[in-house]
Protein backbone atom coordinates (compact mmCIF):
# COMPACT_ATOMS: atom_id res chain seq x y z
CA UNK A 1 0.00 0.00 0.00
CA UNK A 2 2.76 2.42 0.97
CA UNK A 3 4.73 1.63 -2.19
CA UNK A 4 1.62 2.20 -4.23
CA UNK A 5 1.08 5.58 -2.63
CA UNK A 6 4.65 6.63 -3.22
CA UNK A 7 4.13 5.89 -6.86
CA UNK A 8 0.57 7.13 -7.11
CA UNK A 9 1.13 10.68 -5.86
CA UNK A 10 3.66 11.78 -8.52
CA UNK A 11 1.52 10.18 -11.22
CA UNK A 12 -1.54 11.98 -9.93
CA UNK A 13 0.27 15.33 -9.87
CA UNK A 14 1.67 14.89 -13.39
CA UNK A 15 -1.70 13.86 -14.78
CA UNK A 16 -3.41 16.79 -13.09
CA UNK A 17 -0.70 19.16 -14.37
CA UNK A 18 -1.15 18.26 -18.03
CA UNK A 19 -4.85 17.48 -17.85
CA UNK A 20 -6.36 20.80 -19.02
CA UNK A 21 -4.47 20.61 -22.31
CA UNK A 22 -6.22 17.38 -23.15
CA UNK A 23 -9.72 18.54 -22.34
CA UNK A 24 -12.25 20.72 -24.09
CA UNK A 25 -13.93 23.67 -22.41
CA UNK A 26 -16.71 21.77 -20.77
CA UNK A 27 -14.39 19.18 -19.26
CA UNK A 28 -11.96 21.84 -18.14
CA UNK A 29 -14.82 23.36 -16.17
CA UNK A 30 -15.61 19.97 -14.66
CA UNK A 31 -11.96 19.52 -13.71
CA UNK A 32 -11.87 22.94 -12.03
CA UNK A 33 -14.99 22.08 -10.06
CA UNK A 34 -13.28 18.88 -8.99
CA UNK A 35 -10.25 20.82 -7.75
CA UNK A 36 -12.31 23.40 -5.85
CA UNK A 37 -14.58 20.89 -4.16
CA UNK A 38 -11.56 18.72 -3.33
CA UNK A 39 -10.07 21.61 -1.40
CA UNK A 40 -13.32 22.21 0.49
CA UNK A 41 -13.71 18.51 1.24
CA UNK A 42 -10.12 18.36 2.52
CA UNK A 43 -10.78 21.36 4.74
CA UNK A 44 -13.86 19.56 6.07
CA UNK A 45 -11.65 16.54 6.68
CA UNK A 46 -9.49 18.58 9.08
CA UNK A 47 -12.54 19.33 11.23
CA UNK A 48 -14.58 16.15 10.80
CA UNK A 49 -12.08 13.46 9.92
CA UNK A 50 -8.98 14.45 11.84
CA UNK A 51 -10.57 16.07 14.88
CA UNK A 52 -13.85 14.14 14.90
CA UNK A 53 -16.13 17.16 15.23
CA UNK A 54 -19.47 16.84 13.47
CA UNK A 55 -19.43 20.07 11.53
CA UNK A 56 -22.31 20.30 9.09
CA UNK A 57 -21.67 23.90 8.08
CA UNK A 58 -18.58 23.86 5.92
CA UNK A 59 -20.39 25.59 3.03
CA UNK A 60 -20.62 28.64 5.30
CA UNK A 61 -16.84 29.14 5.34
CA UNK A 62 -16.59 28.27 1.65
CA UNK A 63 -19.23 30.87 0.89
CA UNK A 64 -17.69 33.43 3.17
CA UNK A 65 -14.42 33.22 1.25
CA UNK A 66 -16.24 33.48 -2.08
CA UNK A 67 -18.27 36.48 -0.94
CA UNK A 68 -15.23 38.19 0.54
CA UNK A 69 -13.52 38.03 -2.84
CA UNK A 70 -16.66 39.05 -4.72
CA UNK A 71 -17.47 42.01 -2.48
CA UNK A 72 -13.93 43.33 -2.29
CA UNK A 73 -13.51 42.99 -6.02
CA UNK A 74 -16.89 44.34 -7.04
CA UNK A 75 -17.54 47.04 -4.46
CA UNK A 76 -14.05 48.17 -3.71
CA UNK A 77 -12.25 47.39 -6.94
CA UNK A 78 -9.59 45.14 -5.44
CA UNK A 79 -7.83 42.76 -7.79
CA UNK A 80 -8.75 39.13 -7.22
CA UNK A 81 -5.27 38.20 -6.05
CA UNK A 82 -5.30 40.98 -3.46
CA UNK A 83 -8.50 39.62 -1.92
CA UNK A 84 -6.95 36.21 -1.14
CA UNK A 85 -5.47 37.03 2.28
CA UNK A 86 -8.78 38.39 3.56
CA UNK A 87 -10.71 35.54 1.92
CA UNK A 88 -8.67 33.23 4.14
CA UNK A 89 -8.52 35.34 7.29
CA UNK A 90 -12.18 36.39 7.53
CA UNK A 91 -13.58 32.82 7.36
CA UNK A 92 -10.80 31.62 9.67
CA UNK A 93 -11.69 34.29 12.24
CA UNK A 94 -15.36 33.42 11.93
CA UNK A 95 -14.47 29.76 12.32
CA UNK A 96 -12.68 30.58 15.57
CA UNK A 97 -15.44 32.88 16.85
CA UNK A 98 -18.23 30.46 16.00
CA UNK A 99 -16.35 27.44 17.31
CA UNK A 100 -15.36 29.08 20.60
CA UNK A 101 -18.69 28.72 22.37
CA UNK A 102 -19.73 25.41 20.78
CA UNK A 103 -16.77 23.03 20.60
CA UNK A 104 -17.51 21.53 23.99
CA UNK A 105 -20.81 20.23 22.61
CA UNK A 106 -21.14 16.54 21.95
CA UNK A 107 -21.24 15.29 18.34
CA UNK A 108 -24.93 15.48 17.54
CA UNK A 109 -25.51 18.79 19.32
CA UNK A 110 -22.56 20.36 17.53
CA UNK A 111 -24.00 19.12 14.26
CA UNK A 112 -27.33 20.85 14.83
CA UNK A 113 -25.65 24.11 15.84
CA UNK A 114 -23.48 24.19 12.72
CA UNK A 115 -26.53 23.53 10.54
CA UNK A 116 -28.08 26.55 12.24
CA UNK A 117 -25.07 28.72 11.46
CA UNK A 118 -25.19 27.68 7.82
CA UNK A 119 -28.88 28.51 7.50
CA UNK A 120 -28.45 31.89 9.16
CA UNK A 121 -25.54 32.66 6.82
CA UNK A 122 -27.60 31.96 3.69
CA UNK A 123 -30.46 34.05 5.08
CA UNK A 124 -28.09 36.94 5.66
CA UNK A 125 -26.84 36.71 2.07
CA UNK A 126 -30.35 36.57 0.65
CA UNK A 127 -31.47 39.58 2.64
CA UNK A 128 -28.63 41.62 1.26
CA UNK A 129 -26.91 42.58 4.46
CA UNK A 130 -25.41 46.03 4.32
CA UNK A 131 -26.43 46.20 0.66
CA UNK A 132 -23.26 44.44 -0.45
CA UNK A 133 -24.23 40.78 -0.87
CA UNK A 134 -26.53 41.33 -3.82
CA UNK A 135 -29.53 39.55 -2.28
CA UNK A 136 -30.91 36.31 -3.73
CA UNK A 137 -29.20 36.88 -7.08
CA UNK A 138 -25.79 37.31 -5.56
CA UNK A 139 -22.96 39.19 -7.23
CA UNK A 140 -22.03 38.59 -10.83
CA UNK A 141 -19.67 39.92 -13.46
CA UNK A 142 -16.55 39.70 -11.36
CA UNK A 143 -13.19 40.71 -12.74
CA UNK A 144 -11.06 37.99 -14.16
CA UNK A 145 -7.84 36.89 -12.58
CA UNK A 146 -4.84 39.08 -13.19
CA UNK A 147 -1.38 38.84 -11.81
CA UNK A 148 1.54 41.25 -12.22
CA UNK A 149 -0.22 42.95 -15.05
CA UNK A 150 -1.05 39.74 -16.94
CA UNK A 151 -4.67 39.06 -17.61
CA UNK A 152 -5.35 35.43 -16.84
CA UNK A 153 -8.76 35.21 -18.49
CA UNK A 154 -8.53 31.76 -20.01
CA UNK A 155 -10.04 28.77 -18.34
CA UNK A 156 -6.67 27.07 -18.34
CA UNK A 157 -5.21 29.74 -16.10
CA UNK A 158 -8.15 29.35 -13.73
CA UNK A 159 -7.45 25.64 -13.74
CA UNK A 160 -3.85 26.18 -12.72
CA UNK A 161 -4.92 28.66 -10.08
CA UNK A 162 -7.22 25.98 -8.63
CA UNK A 163 -4.49 23.37 -8.96
CA UNK A 164 -2.01 25.51 -7.05
CA UNK A 165 -4.60 25.99 -4.31
CA UNK A 166 -5.07 22.21 -4.09
CA UNK A 167 -1.31 21.65 -3.93
CA UNK A 168 -1.05 24.25 -1.20
CA UNK A 169 -3.82 22.54 0.74
CA UNK A 170 -2.14 19.15 0.41
CA UNK A 171 1.12 20.70 1.57
CA UNK A 172 -0.54 22.19 4.65
CA UNK A 173 -2.20 18.87 5.43
CA UNK A 174 1.11 17.11 5.09
CA UNK A 175 2.69 19.57 7.52
CA UNK A 176 -0.22 19.14 9.88
CA UNK A 177 0.13 15.36 9.93
CA UNK A 178 3.70 15.52 11.22
CA UNK A 179 3.23 18.22 13.82
CA UNK A 180 2.20 18.64 17.42
CA UNK A 181 -1.18 20.27 16.63
CA UNK A 182 -1.98 17.61 14.03
CA UNK A 183 -1.32 14.77 16.42
CA UNK A 184 -3.22 16.56 19.18
CA UNK A 185 -6.31 16.47 16.92
CA UNK A 186 -5.98 12.72 16.48
CA UNK A 187 -5.58 12.22 20.19
CA UNK A 188 -8.59 14.27 21.15
CA UNK A 189 -10.73 12.52 18.56
CA UNK A 190 -9.71 9.07 19.79
CA UNK A 191 -10.21 9.77 23.49
CA UNK A 192 -10.79 13.25 24.80
CA UNK A 193 -10.34 12.42 28.48
CA UNK A 194 -7.09 10.58 27.82
CA UNK A 195 -5.88 13.53 25.75
CA UNK A 196 -6.64 15.98 28.57
CA UNK A 197 -4.99 13.69 31.09
CA UNK A 198 -1.79 13.73 29.09
CA UNK A 199 -1.71 17.50 29.02
CA UNK A 200 -3.54 18.48 25.85
CA UNK A 201 -5.75 21.53 26.02
CA UNK A 202 -8.42 19.98 23.81
CA UNK A 203 -10.47 23.15 23.52
CA UNK A 204 -7.62 25.08 21.94
CA UNK A 205 -6.95 22.40 19.35
CA UNK A 206 -10.61 21.99 18.49
CA UNK A 207 -10.85 25.72 17.82
CA UNK A 208 -7.60 25.58 15.87
CA UNK A 209 -9.07 22.84 13.68
CA UNK A 210 -12.12 25.00 12.98
CA UNK A 211 -10.00 28.03 12.18
CA UNK A 212 -7.71 26.14 9.84
CA UNK A 213 -10.55 24.27 8.12
CA UNK A 214 -12.46 27.53 7.66
CA UNK A 215 -9.43 29.36 6.27
CA UNK A 216 -8.78 26.70 3.64
CA UNK A 217 -12.45 26.56 2.68
CA UNK A 218 -12.38 30.34 2.32
CA UNK A 219 -9.47 30.11 -0.11
CA UNK A 220 -11.44 27.57 -2.13
CA UNK A 221 -14.24 30.13 -2.13
CA UNK A 222 -12.01 32.62 -3.93
CA UNK A 223 -11.32 30.09 -6.66
CA UNK A 224 -15.03 29.38 -6.91
CA UNK A 225 -15.81 33.07 -7.36
CA UNK A 226 -13.17 33.32 -10.08
CA UNK A 227 -14.36 30.20 -11.88
CA UNK A 228 -17.99 31.35 -12.18
CA UNK A 229 -17.15 35.06 -12.01
CA UNK A 230 -20.23 35.14 -9.80
CA UNK A 231 -21.42 34.13 -6.35
CA UNK A 232 -24.96 33.45 -5.21
CA UNK A 233 -26.48 32.18 -1.97
CA UNK A 234 -27.77 28.83 -3.25
CA UNK A 235 -24.23 27.60 -3.93
CA UNK A 236 -23.59 27.69 -0.18
CA UNK A 237 -26.81 26.17 1.10
CA UNK A 238 -26.80 23.71 3.92
CA UNK A 239 -27.25 20.84 1.44
CA UNK A 240 -23.74 21.57 0.14
CA UNK A 241 -22.42 21.13 3.66
CA UNK A 242 -24.18 17.77 3.77
CA UNK A 243 -22.32 16.76 0.61
CA UNK A 244 -18.93 17.70 2.04
CA UNK A 245 -19.79 15.92 5.26
CA UNK A 246 -20.77 12.73 3.43
CA UNK A 247 -17.72 12.85 1.16
CA UNK A 248 -15.39 12.75 4.15
CA UNK A 249 -17.43 10.07 5.88
CA UNK A 250 -17.80 7.83 2.83
CA UNK A 251 -14.35 8.44 1.41
CA UNK A 252 -12.61 7.99 4.73
CA UNK A 253 -10.43 10.56 6.39
CA UNK A 254 -7.53 10.28 3.96
CA UNK A 255 -6.44 12.31 0.95
CA UNK A 256 -7.14 9.53 -1.58
CA UNK A 257 -10.46 8.79 0.09
CA UNK A 258 -11.60 12.41 0.01
CA UNK A 259 -10.50 12.89 -3.63
CA UNK A 260 -12.31 9.69 -4.56
CA UNK A 261 -15.43 10.94 -2.79
CA UNK A 262 -15.32 14.25 -4.66
CA UNK A 263 -14.77 12.41 -7.95
CA UNK A 264 -17.77 10.18 -7.41
CA UNK A 265 -19.95 13.05 -6.30
CA UNK A 266 -19.06 15.72 -8.82
CA UNK A 267 -17.30 14.17 -11.80
CA UNK A 268 -19.12 10.89 -12.36
CA UNK A 269 -22.48 12.66 -12.81
CA UNK A 270 -20.88 14.69 -15.61
CA UNK A 271 -19.55 11.58 -17.30
CA UNK A 272 -22.92 9.89 -17.15
CA UNK A 273 -24.88 12.93 -17.91
CA UNK A 274 -28.08 11.19 -18.73
CA UNK A 275 -28.03 9.79 -15.23
CA UNK A 276 -27.33 13.15 -13.63
CA UNK A 277 -30.70 13.23 -11.94
CA UNK A 278 -29.87 9.87 -10.41
CA UNK A 279 -26.79 11.07 -8.67
CA UNK A 280 -28.26 11.64 -5.24
CA UNK A 281 -30.09 8.37 -5.59
CA UNK A 282 -26.92 6.47 -6.46
CA UNK A 283 -24.77 8.36 -4.01
CA UNK A 284 -27.33 7.78 -1.30
CA UNK A 285 -27.14 4.05 -1.83
CA UNK A 286 -23.35 4.20 -2.07
CA UNK A 287 -23.31 5.95 1.30
CA UNK A 288 -25.50 3.29 2.87
CA UNK A 289 -23.43 0.48 1.40
CA UNK A 290 -20.11 2.10 2.34
CA UNK A 291 -21.15 2.76 5.91
CA UNK A 292 -22.35 -0.82 6.39
CA UNK A 293 -19.41 -2.50 4.72
CA UNK A 294 -16.64 -0.04 5.53
CA UNK A 295 -17.68 1.99 8.55
CA UNK A 296 -14.38 3.85 8.60
CA UNK A 297 -14.71 4.92 4.96
CA UNK A 298 -13.71 3.47 1.63
CA UNK A 299 -10.10 4.53 2.11
CA UNK A 300 -9.65 4.87 5.87
CA UNK A 301 -7.30 7.25 7.60
CA UNK A 302 -3.75 6.26 8.26
CA UNK A 303 -2.23 8.10 11.15
CA UNK A 304 0.85 10.23 11.35
CA UNK A 305 3.91 8.38 10.27
CA UNK A 306 6.40 7.32 12.86
CA UNK A 307 10.09 7.83 12.07
CA UNK A 308 11.91 4.90 10.53
CA UNK A 309 14.49 4.65 13.31
CA UNK A 310 11.76 3.53 15.70
CA UNK A 311 10.87 0.54 13.57
CA UNK A 312 13.20 -2.20 14.70
CA UNK A 313 13.66 -5.61 13.18
CA UNK A 314 11.11 -8.31 13.86
CA UNK A 315 8.56 -5.57 14.31
CA UNK A 316 4.98 -6.69 14.59
CA UNK A 317 2.55 -5.43 12.01
CA UNK A 318 4.77 -2.63 10.71
Amino acid sequence: MKELQKFAYPVFFVVMAVLPHMLDDRWQAVAITFLIFSVVALSQDIILGKSGMFNMGQALFFGMGAYTTAILSNEYGWSIIATIPLAIIIPALFGILLAGPIVHLRGDYLLVVTIGFNIVFVQVLQNNLGGVTGGPNGIFGLDSLSFLGYDLMSQISVYYFAFIVLLLTLWVMHNLAGSKPGRAMHYLREDQLAAESIGINTRVYKIFAFGLGAGIAGLAGTVFAVQYSAVSPEAFEFIQSVLFFSIVLVGGSSVPGVLLGVFVMFVLPEIFREFATWRYFIFGFAMIAAMIMRPRGIWPATFGKIPKFLIKENNHGA
Partner: protein, 259 residues
Protein backbone atom coordinates in the same frame (compact mmCIF):
# COMPACT_ATOMS: atom_id res chain seq x y z
CA UNK B 1 11.61 26.19 46.60
CA UNK B 2 8.75 24.09 47.78
CA UNK B 3 9.30 20.37 48.01
CA UNK B 4 7.63 17.97 45.66
CA UNK B 5 4.92 17.26 48.15
CA UNK B 6 1.28 16.52 47.57
CA UNK B 7 -0.87 17.44 50.53
CA UNK B 8 -4.58 16.74 50.63
CA UNK B 9 -6.49 18.41 53.42
CA UNK B 10 -10.12 17.56 54.18
CA UNK B 11 -10.96 16.80 50.56
CA UNK B 12 -14.65 16.10 50.18
CA UNK B 13 -16.45 15.09 47.01
CA UNK B 14 -20.18 14.48 46.84
CA UNK B 15 -22.35 13.05 44.10
CA UNK B 16 -25.87 14.14 44.94
CA UNK B 17 -26.57 12.62 48.35
CA UNK B 18 -23.59 10.32 48.26
CA UNK B 19 -20.35 11.43 49.84
CA UNK B 20 -17.75 9.56 47.82
CA UNK B 21 -14.78 11.12 49.54
CA UNK B 22 -15.25 12.39 53.07
CA UNK B 23 -12.78 14.85 54.59
CA UNK B 24 -9.78 12.92 53.40
CA UNK B 25 -6.29 14.11 54.27
CA UNK B 26 -2.94 12.63 53.48
CA UNK B 27 0.51 13.68 52.46
CA UNK B 28 2.73 12.20 49.78
CA UNK B 29 6.38 13.06 50.18
CA UNK B 30 8.98 13.39 47.51
CA UNK B 31 10.49 10.06 46.40
CA UNK B 32 7.89 7.88 48.07
CA UNK B 33 5.88 5.05 46.61
CA UNK B 34 2.61 5.82 48.28
CA UNK B 35 -0.34 3.45 48.23
CA UNK B 36 -4.04 4.04 48.66
CA UNK B 37 -6.01 0.92 49.34
CA UNK B 38 -9.53 0.13 50.30
CA UNK B 39 -12.41 -2.15 49.38
CA UNK B 40 -14.32 -1.69 46.15
CA UNK B 41 -16.36 1.46 46.03
CA UNK B 42 -14.33 3.02 48.82
CA UNK B 43 -13.74 6.14 46.72
CA UNK B 44 -10.14 5.55 45.69
CA UNK B 45 -10.53 6.45 42.03
CA UNK B 46 -12.62 9.47 43.00
CA UNK B 47 -9.68 10.72 45.08
CA UNK B 48 -7.46 10.42 42.02
CA UNK B 49 -9.98 12.21 39.87
CA UNK B 50 -10.02 15.04 42.41
CA UNK B 51 -6.24 15.29 42.36
CA UNK B 52 -5.93 15.21 38.57
CA UNK B 53 -8.67 17.74 37.88
CA UNK B 54 -11.26 15.45 36.33
CA UNK B 55 -13.50 16.26 39.31
CA UNK B 56 -13.39 19.30 41.49
CA UNK B 57 -13.84 18.49 45.14
CA UNK B 58 -16.45 20.57 46.95
CA UNK B 59 -14.30 21.17 49.98
CA UNK B 60 -10.75 20.92 51.12
CA UNK B 61 -7.52 21.70 49.44
CA UNK B 62 -5.07 19.89 47.20
CA UNK B 63 -1.64 21.42 47.55
CA UNK B 64 1.12 20.48 45.14
CA UNK B 65 4.52 22.03 45.80
CA UNK B 66 2.73 24.56 47.90
CA UNK B 67 0.33 25.53 45.13
CA UNK B 68 -3.42 25.00 45.30
CA UNK B 69 -4.37 22.81 42.32
CA UNK B 70 -7.96 22.13 43.29
CA UNK B 71 -10.16 23.44 40.48
CA UNK B 72 -7.48 23.41 37.83
CA UNK B 73 -8.15 21.62 34.56
CA UNK B 74 -6.47 18.27 33.86
CA UNK B 75 -4.00 19.74 31.36
CA UNK B 76 -2.95 22.49 33.78
CA UNK B 77 -2.24 19.84 36.39
CA UNK B 78 -0.24 17.76 33.90
CA UNK B 79 1.71 20.90 33.13
CA UNK B 80 2.73 21.00 36.81
CA UNK B 81 4.19 17.51 36.65
CA UNK B 82 1.33 15.25 37.82
CA UNK B 83 0.43 12.54 35.33
CA UNK B 84 -1.92 9.58 35.73
CA UNK B 85 -2.96 6.32 34.20
CA UNK B 86 -6.45 4.85 34.24
CA UNK B 87 -7.88 1.72 35.79
CA UNK B 88 -9.67 0.97 32.55
CA UNK B 89 -6.82 1.57 30.12
CA UNK B 90 -7.38 4.67 28.01
CA UNK B 91 -5.08 4.59 25.03
CA UNK B 92 -5.57 5.87 21.50
CA UNK B 93 -6.55 2.46 20.20
CA UNK B 94 -6.18 2.90 16.46
CA UNK B 95 -2.79 4.55 16.72
CA UNK B 96 0.58 2.85 17.00
CA UNK B 97 2.43 2.33 20.26
CA UNK B 98 5.00 4.96 19.26
CA UNK B 99 2.31 7.54 18.50
CA UNK B 100 0.63 6.80 21.80
CA UNK B 101 3.83 7.45 23.68
CA UNK B 102 4.44 10.54 21.55
CA UNK B 103 1.22 12.00 22.95
CA UNK B 104 3.05 12.20 26.26
CA UNK B 105 5.56 14.52 24.62
CA UNK B 106 2.83 17.00 23.78
CA UNK B 107 3.51 19.46 26.57
CA UNK B 108 7.28 19.08 26.24
CA UNK B 109 7.22 19.93 22.56
CA UNK B 110 8.15 23.50 21.78
CA UNK B 111 5.96 23.67 18.68
CA UNK B 112 3.35 26.37 18.37
CA UNK B 113 0.01 26.15 16.63
CA UNK B 114 1.36 27.59 13.39
CA UNK B 115 3.85 24.76 13.11
CA UNK B 116 0.82 22.69 12.10
CA UNK B 117 0.62 24.82 8.95
CA UNK B 118 4.13 25.95 8.11
CA UNK B 119 7.22 23.87 8.88
CA UNK B 120 10.44 25.44 10.11
CA UNK B 121 13.87 23.96 10.78
CA UNK B 122 13.14 24.38 14.48
CA UNK B 123 10.05 22.26 14.17
CA UNK B 124 11.96 19.49 12.48
CA UNK B 125 14.52 19.48 15.25
CA UNK B 126 11.80 19.50 17.88
CA UNK B 127 10.03 16.56 16.23
CA UNK B 128 13.24 14.56 16.13
CA UNK B 129 14.10 15.29 19.77
CA UNK B 130 10.70 14.16 20.93
CA UNK B 131 10.75 11.02 18.81
CA UNK B 132 14.15 10.25 20.31
CA UNK B 133 12.59 10.50 23.73
CA UNK B 134 9.85 8.13 22.56
CA UNK B 135 12.61 5.73 21.54
CA UNK B 136 14.05 5.93 25.06
CA UNK B 137 10.67 5.11 26.55
CA UNK B 138 10.24 2.23 24.12
CA UNK B 139 13.58 0.84 25.28
CA UNK B 140 12.92 1.45 28.96
CA UNK B 141 9.56 -0.32 28.84
CA UNK B 142 10.77 -3.02 26.43
CA UNK B 143 8.22 -2.03 23.82
CA UNK B 144 10.53 -1.47 20.84
CA UNK B 145 9.26 -4.45 18.92
CA UNK B 146 5.71 -3.07 19.03
CA UNK B 147 6.57 0.50 18.01
CA UNK B 148 4.50 0.47 14.83
CA UNK B 149 1.72 -1.84 16.03
CA UNK B 150 -1.75 -0.36 16.60
CA UNK B 151 -2.10 -0.42 20.36
CA UNK B 152 -5.68 -1.70 20.32
CA UNK B 153 -4.53 -5.03 18.93
CA UNK B 154 -2.03 -5.74 21.72
CA UNK B 155 -2.59 -7.92 24.79
CA UNK B 156 -3.81 -6.26 27.96
CA UNK B 157 -0.53 -6.52 29.82
CA UNK B 158 1.35 -4.74 27.09
CA UNK B 159 -1.30 -2.04 26.84
CA UNK B 160 -0.75 -1.35 30.56
CA UNK B 161 2.94 -0.90 29.86
CA UNK B 162 2.21 1.44 26.98
CA UNK B 163 -0.02 3.54 29.21
CA UNK B 164 2.69 3.87 31.85
CA UNK B 165 5.25 4.61 29.12
CA UNK B 166 2.98 7.35 27.78
CA UNK B 167 2.71 8.89 31.23
CA UNK B 168 6.49 8.67 31.73
CA UNK B 169 7.07 10.43 28.40
CA UNK B 170 5.65 13.55 30.05
CA UNK B 171 8.61 13.39 32.47
CA UNK B 172 6.35 13.70 35.50
CA UNK B 173 7.39 14.54 39.03
CA UNK B 174 4.44 12.61 40.45
CA UNK B 175 3.09 9.54 38.67
CA UNK B 176 -0.37 8.39 39.65
CA UNK B 177 -1.24 4.78 38.83
CA UNK B 178 -4.85 3.66 39.11
CA UNK B 179 -4.83 -0.09 39.81
CA UNK B 180 -1.82 -0.81 37.61
CA UNK B 181 -1.90 -4.56 38.39
CA UNK B 182 -5.58 -5.04 37.54
CA UNK B 183 -5.94 -7.77 34.93
CA UNK B 184 -2.27 -8.74 34.97
CA UNK B 185 -1.03 -12.28 35.55
CA UNK B 186 1.60 -13.08 38.20
CA UNK B 187 4.55 -12.75 35.87
CA UNK B 188 3.35 -9.44 34.53
CA UNK B 189 2.71 -8.19 38.05
CA UNK B 190 6.30 -8.99 38.99
CA UNK B 191 7.55 -7.10 35.97
CA UNK B 192 5.33 -4.20 36.93
CA UNK B 193 6.84 -4.13 40.42
CA UNK B 194 10.29 -3.92 38.92
CA UNK B 195 9.17 -1.16 36.60
CA UNK B 196 7.69 0.84 39.46
CA UNK B 197 10.94 0.58 41.42
CA UNK B 198 12.89 1.67 38.35
CA UNK B 199 10.59 4.64 37.92
CA UNK B 200 11.10 5.62 41.54
CA UNK B 201 14.85 5.33 41.06
CA UNK B 202 14.57 7.94 38.33
CA UNK B 203 13.40 10.33 41.01
CA UNK B 204 9.68 10.14 40.29
CA UNK B 205 7.25 10.00 43.19
CA UNK B 206 4.63 7.30 42.69
CA UNK B 207 1.10 7.34 44.07
CA UNK B 208 -0.92 4.23 43.38
CA UNK B 209 -4.24 2.62 44.09
CA UNK B 210 -4.16 -1.08 44.31
CA UNK B 211 -6.43 -3.94 45.07
CA UNK B 212 -3.82 -6.67 45.09
CA UNK B 213 -2.74 -6.61 48.74
CA UNK B 214 0.38 -8.69 48.22
CA UNK B 215 1.62 -6.27 45.64
CA UNK B 216 0.83 -3.21 47.76
CA UNK B 217 2.66 -4.61 50.74
CA UNK B 218 5.68 -5.31 48.62
CA UNK B 219 5.93 -2.09 46.67
CA UNK B 220 4.77 0.79 48.87
CA UNK B 221 6.65 2.77 51.48
CA UNK B 222 3.58 4.22 53.08
CA UNK B 223 -0.13 3.54 52.88
CA UNK B 224 -3.48 5.12 53.46
CA UNK B 225 -6.48 2.85 53.82
CA UNK B 226 -9.87 4.27 53.03
CA UNK B 227 -13.36 2.91 53.32
CA UNK B 228 -16.60 4.70 52.44
CA UNK B 229 -14.51 7.69 51.46
CA UNK B 230 -12.97 8.03 54.91
CA UNK B 231 -9.47 7.31 56.06
CA UNK B 232 -9.47 4.39 58.45
CA UNK B 233 -5.74 3.92 58.82
CA UNK B 234 -2.35 5.00 57.64
CA UNK B 235 1.17 3.78 58.14
CA UNK B 236 3.87 1.55 56.74
CA UNK B 237 2.82 -1.77 55.22
CA UNK B 238 3.84 -3.61 58.40
CA UNK B 239 1.72 -1.36 60.57
CA UNK B 240 -1.24 -1.63 58.25
CA UNK B 241 -1.15 -5.41 58.20
CA UNK B 242 -1.58 -5.47 61.97
CA UNK B 243 -4.26 -2.80 62.11
CA UNK B 244 -7.56 -4.29 63.30
CA UNK B 245 -9.72 -1.67 61.52
CA UNK B 246 -8.13 -2.57 58.22
CA UNK B 247 -8.57 -6.28 58.75
CA UNK B 248 -12.21 -5.71 59.49
CA UNK B 249 -12.79 -3.54 56.44
CA UNK B 250 -11.25 -6.16 54.22
CA UNK B 251 -13.04 -9.13 55.75
CA UNK B 252 -16.35 -9.55 54.04
CA UNK B 253 -15.33 -7.37 51.19
CA UNK B 254 -13.23 -10.17 49.75
CA UNK B 255 -16.34 -12.16 48.91
CA UNK B 256 -18.22 -9.52 46.98
CA UNK B 257 -15.11 -8.47 45.12
CA UNK B 258 -16.44 -7.74 41.66
CA UNK B 259 -13.15 -7.72 39.82
Amino acid sequence: MAHNELILTDVTKRFGGLTAVDALSFKVESGQIYGIIGPNGAGKTTVFNCITGIYKSEEGSVLWRGEEIRGMTPYQIVDRGIVRTFQTIRLFGQMSVAENIMSGRHIKSAQKWWHGIIPTPGKKRDELENWKNVEEQLDFFKLSEFAATPVGSLPYGIQRRVEIARAMAVEPTLLILDEPAAGLNDKETLELLETIFKIRDKGVTVLLIEHDMDMVMEVTDYLTVINFGKKIAEGTPEEIQKNPAVIEAYLGSEDDDDE
